[in-house]
């Protein structure tokens, strides 16, 4: 017996929209079975996981805060992935962005350099530095690919570890808080070097707006601009693109710079937003989770917004489930895995017909 995948002749809009919803429902059913096997009520878990976080103002804010770095990074990655370039190193670009921007935060600590003109320039400069840090770091695998033909998958991934170790060394060395008893962390930035919160005493910071703007601009670029078309053409038909006179080397560099800049911006938004200092670890793996988000959102900026919020919901719901139902934290990760599996299967099912051929050789 053999299983064949035959491409469907045409994809319908109904299938495209329906498939992720079916996948979500299937994931909830599978998750429910696991929860039931753990001896907890699946309906209660569903309520705690998916409904309650959507009913309260503070958890809605937390959703946006958690989704913010994922959206920024995933939108950047969608440029690369549409062009069939595989930037796996967003985590490293996130870190170098946070590092370069955070460096200014450390320099200006305790009102240093703020004497004559005040500190208004610090935060915008930090954001710019963050984007530059990420962009320059992303340029390394792009240049290696253009010049030497090195696989960007490998080089960008390996550079993640370089960035992690670099950050680790800096916060234990030159960036260490001199009054911090040798603990590996920098000083806490001045308030003026922190992203402002959108309301007093709340957690929603201005980075969320940046993420929204980035997604909107990207949506516009993909839908309306020649550049967006170029990216897609080079991804889908590189030969045709060359005949049309597009320069794929230049494009490689451009999409990596965009992707890196957005990841770096996400990094400095985390550092200047909710962390407020440099520590040995500034990302719980956002750069990698964003790859999942980019694909869940089918590389479309609006899809990415939705996907990031769904993933953020699994984190926050998962914590609520720990608090209220004493479900283990592993359940959150298991559920994320189930969800991804269901979406991928649904994706295959919308693109291909599955045929079983009895009697055929495997």
């Amino acid at each position: 017996m053999r299983i064949d995948l035959e491409p469907r002749p045409a994809r319908t809009l109904a299938l495209d929209i329906g498939a992720p919803i079916v996948a979500l429902v299937a994931a909830i059913i599978f998750g429910g079975i696991v929860i039931w096997l753990l001896g907890k009520s699946p309906t209660l878990a569903f309520e705690v996981y998916f409904i309650n976080p959507l009913l309260e103002g503070w958890s809605l804010q937390e959703l946006a805060v958690k989704a913010c770095p994922l959206v920024l990074i995933a939108v950047g990655l969608s440029f690369c992935y549409r062009a069939n370039l595989w930037n796996i190193g967003a985590e490293g670009q996130f870190i170098t962005g946070g590092l370069l921007g955070g460096w200014l935060g450390i320099l200006t600590h305790n009102e240093a350099y703020q004497g004559l003109i005040g500190g208004w320039w610090i935060l915008p400069s930090m954001l710019v530095l963050g984007a530059i840090g990420g962009a320059l770091y992303a340029l390394i695998p792009a240049l290696l690919r253009v010049w030497l033909g090195a696989s960007e998958i490998l080089t960008s991934l390996m550079l993640v570890y370089v960035a992690e170790l670099g950050l680790d060394w800096l916060v234990r060395g030159p960036f260490k808080d001199p009054e911090g008893f040798n603990f590996p962390q920098s000083v806490v930035f001045d308030d003026i070097a922190r992203l402002p919160f959108l309301a007093e005493g709340e957690r929603l910071h201005a980075g969320v707006l940046l993420a929204l703007i980035a997604a909107l601009i990207a949506a516009f670029v993909f839908a309306r601009s020649l550049f967006g078309f170029e990216v897609r053409l080079i991804g889908e038909a590189p030969r045709a693109a060359r005949f049309a006179g597009f320069d794929d080397r230049k494009l490689t560099l451009t999409v990596f710079v965009i992707s890196g800049a957005l990841a770096g911006l996400a990094g400095i938004c985390e550092v200047a937003g909710q962390i407020g200092q440099l520590t040995p670890k500034i990302s719980p793996g956002y750069g990698f989770t964003a790859i999942i988000v980019a694909f869940l959102g089918r590389l479309s900026p609006v899809g990415i917004l939705v996907a990031a919020l769904v993933l953020a919901l699994t984190y926050i719901g998962g914590e609520a489930a720990q608090v209220e139902l004493s479900l283990p934290s592993d359940m959150t990760r298991a559920f994320q895995g189930i969800l991804l599996m269901c979406v991928l299967v649904a994706d295959i099912a919308t693109r291909y017909r599955i045929r079983l051929r009895l009697g055929a050789a495997a």
Binding site: D168, F181, S329
Partner: protein, 357 residues
């Protein structure tokens, strides 16, 4: 008359219902935030044992909740979630939770916070840690006696004061019984990563170490010692079940007493922001049963432990020489002060390593 009686009955029924409702509502909700999984059988596990013991001791007066595997940089939301869901006392048990704890505490002045191993406090934030170095002095003596190669291996996590103080106490203990002993240190740069920890232990064994000590949380280094037919010490928790032939003893973090005491203080309304640095005398640190060693070593270890417990022996008693052989100023008269220990960033004489700066 009848009506009044009826009203009275009704009223008292309401009163009783209200009283019992408020009694039920008075159940104190206590939250715990762990950096690792409760199944690490080391640091986070031991905090969770403290939680369970506290729950048992205070019974239906308290209700406890924990969040495990909380990443330090993303912990503010998790801590806030506990504060929002009605927890009135929250223990955050890793150093990296310090700034997030302080920020949430500012937002929830009515909630009490307890942060382990940090140094920043506030009106509603206490800090607590234990004098683990007291235990390390005892195991240093055991190691100094047990070694045949005069080379001890030390798997260290991060060069923060707690770990540096541990190394120093261990060496001082070893030197007190064996002046020729040397200690080799490998920085694993992790608290919990069994693979890396095992590699560090293997490297030390290959360099001739025959006793493995660790300041990382998994049982992996101890298991490597067992495989090699050498000896080691359990970390944070009694890990004898992972290495029955290799574990000489273990430094056990015992948070139960502290958690019971602090929760009681909140129940009684006597809770105040404090800084606790308890040792073997307060039973915050104790040693697992001595095993796999000759009787004379066991006797020596028991005596040393008893002396520390009775405060007759201070591992950091003066004179203490630093790596260059210079005497260190003793701010507590006869010994180093607590402040000197909790900010330690220098090695004592005889450490064959450079402190990562």
């Amino acid at each position: 008359m009848k009506k009044t009686a009826f009203k009275l009955v009704l009223l008292s029924a309401v009163a009783i219902a209200a009283a019992s409702a408020s009694f039920a509502a008075e159940k104190l909700k206590v939250g715990f935030v762990y950096v690792g999984p409760v199944g690490d059988f080391g640091y986070s596990y031991q905090h969770d044992q403290g939680r369970i013991a506290m729950q048992k001791a205070l019974g239906d007066k308290v209700e406890t909740t924990f969040l495990e595997n909380v990443p330090e940089t993303d912990s503010e939301r998790s801590i806030e979630q506990l504060a929002r869901s009605g927890h009135k006392l929250i223990f955050t048990t890793s150093f990296g939770f310090m700034e997030p704890t302080l920020r949430v505490a500012k937002k929830f002045p009515g909630v009490k916070f307890e942060h382990a191993t940090g140094y920043k406090r506030a009106g509603n934030v206490s800090t607590y840690t234990a004098k683990f170095h007291e235990g390390r002095y005892v195991i240093g003596q055991i190691a100094g006696k047990m070694t045949k190669t005069n080379t001890l291996g030390y798997v260290a996590s991060f060069p923060i004061p707690e770990v540096v103080a541990g190394i120093n106490a261990f060496i001082l203990g070893a030197q007190s019984v064996n002046p020729d002993v040397k200690v080799k240190i490998v920085w694993a740069n992790t608290w919990f990563d069994p693979g890396k920890e095992a590699d560090a232990a293997k490297a030390l064994l290959a360099q001739g170490a025959d006793i493995i000590t660790q300041h990382t949380d998994s049982a992996a280094p101890l298991q490597e010692a067992e495989k090699a037919g050498k000896f080691g010490f359990g970390q944070a928790s009694d890990q004898a079940r992972f290495a029955p032939k290799a574990q000489l003893t273990a430094i056990v973090d015992n948070w139960s007493t502290y958690y019971i005491e602090r929760t009681k203080a909140v129940l009684d309304g006597t809770w105040k922001s404090t800084d606790t640095f308890g040792g073997m005398d307060a039973d915050m640190v104790h040693l697992a049963p001595f095993a796999n060693m000759p009787d004379d070593v066991k006797k020596m270890a028991e005596e040393t432990a008893a002396a520390i417990k009775a405060k007759k022996l201070n591992p950091f008693k003066c004179p203490i020489l630093d790596q260059d052989g210079k005497a260190v100023e003793c701010k507590d008269g006869k010994a180093l002060s607590d402040a000197q220990i909790t900010s330690m960033n220098w090695y004592v004489k005889g450490v064959d390593d450079k402190l990562p700066k």
